[in-house]
Symmetry: C2
Subunit: 210 residues, 2 copies
């Protein structure tokens, strides 16, 4: 089943990226081995799927995040989880910013409410509803970073064309190097300590406090 999922009404998704479709999968995204985490591509420019991302470093989760005050979903709620490759994470911990070959993965999962003994709030369903990658590869992309959308974890992902809303939104509002570090609870204090927050973000925050 191909699942058309509008993750975000307007611009870019919550903790990371853009909206995208996905082939719903059931639990096939857990791998025992942990292969290399550097980005790899097909000859046509597609990106190979980041098979082991669930074993990378977890950054955060959100639910129904939106940059529009209007609800995106009338009938359901959606979690998004963000992961980064361990090598990039370790550099961030040391420097407060991202090295070349950083790969950030955003997955979306349906939020369920009633299930087993749970009566309220939301937990995450087994079906993976969307997967996107934000990758820094300075030799490959003119603006250093690129977005890829995946229809499945078994197929290469397609490059989102430069100029798409996710690029402009991340460039304008990302707290560190076009990424939404303001939503990553363990990384934001590091960026504050190391003074790597972008001027655009600092200006927005100062305006917000006035």
């Amino acid at each position: 089943m191909r699942f058309r999922l509008v993750l975000m009404a307007g611009v870019c998704l919550s903790a990371a990226f853009c909206s995208m479709p996905f082939v719903a999968q059931t639990g096939s995204d857990t791998r025992a081995a942990a292969p290399a985490t550097e980005p790899a591509y097909e000859k046509n420019g597609d990106m190979k799927p980041p098979a082991s991302y669930r074993e990378w470093i977890y950054l955060t989760s959100g639910i129904d995040m939106s940059y529009s005050p209007k609800p995106d979903f009338a009938d359901h709620s959606m979690f998004d989880n963000v992961f980064v490759n361990p090598e990039a994470y370790r550099t961030f911990v040391q420097t407060g910013t991202w090295p070349d070959k950083t790969v950030m993965v955003l997955e979306a999962r349906m939020a369920q409410s009633k299930g087993s003994i749970n009566q309220r709030g939301h937990f995450q369903g087994t079906d993976l509803m969307a997967l996107e990658v934000h990758v820094k590869d300075t030799a490959r992309f003119p603006d250093k970073w690129a977005f890829f959308e995946f229809d499945s974890l078994d197929k290469p992902g397609s490059l989102v064309p430069q100029g798409a809303p996710c690029y402009t939104c991340h460039a304008a509002h990302g707290a560190v190097d076009t990424t939404f570090v303001q939503f990553y609870p363990t990384l934001l204090p590091l960026a504050q300590q190391k003074k790597t927050l972008s001027q655009a973000y600092l200006a927005e925050e100062a305006k917000e406090k006035k």
Copy 2:
């Protein structure tokens, strides 16, 4: 500031454990190094804090999960994130159940809504509001598993006495070996495949479907 946080009205917490207090912290839970992940204890029986748990394997997040139909929090929402030590995760992927020395960590973070460019839904705040551990240590605990509550990541955690509601709830409802695998989206399908789901859980699910 000591933050008294009632995570759950009744029994045990959402994806894992019991309710507990916590000294609110700001972003001090990100470590660059990844020390050994085996459980370690003080002479008095307290557990040493699992310092590097944010670099372990992420299992899931929930928000405001409750086993009671009544709201737990009138004025705020709370995320909980669950991590497990990588060694135990790899065994689970192979066998569908937990080995000795499994350490599961649940952290709670306040859910924020307005912040930066976010207008709706919820993202996770930088302050860590609660931390609990569920550990399997067969030589140490008569029932194999124990719960520990931590007031801070800098201090040892206290053993929750056997017989407390979290033990009975996990024993009665945990899908695999007293753990809430039914709420871990990448592990539930593995347990189904490997037929390691508990009889109690399977009976509950069969009853639910009637």
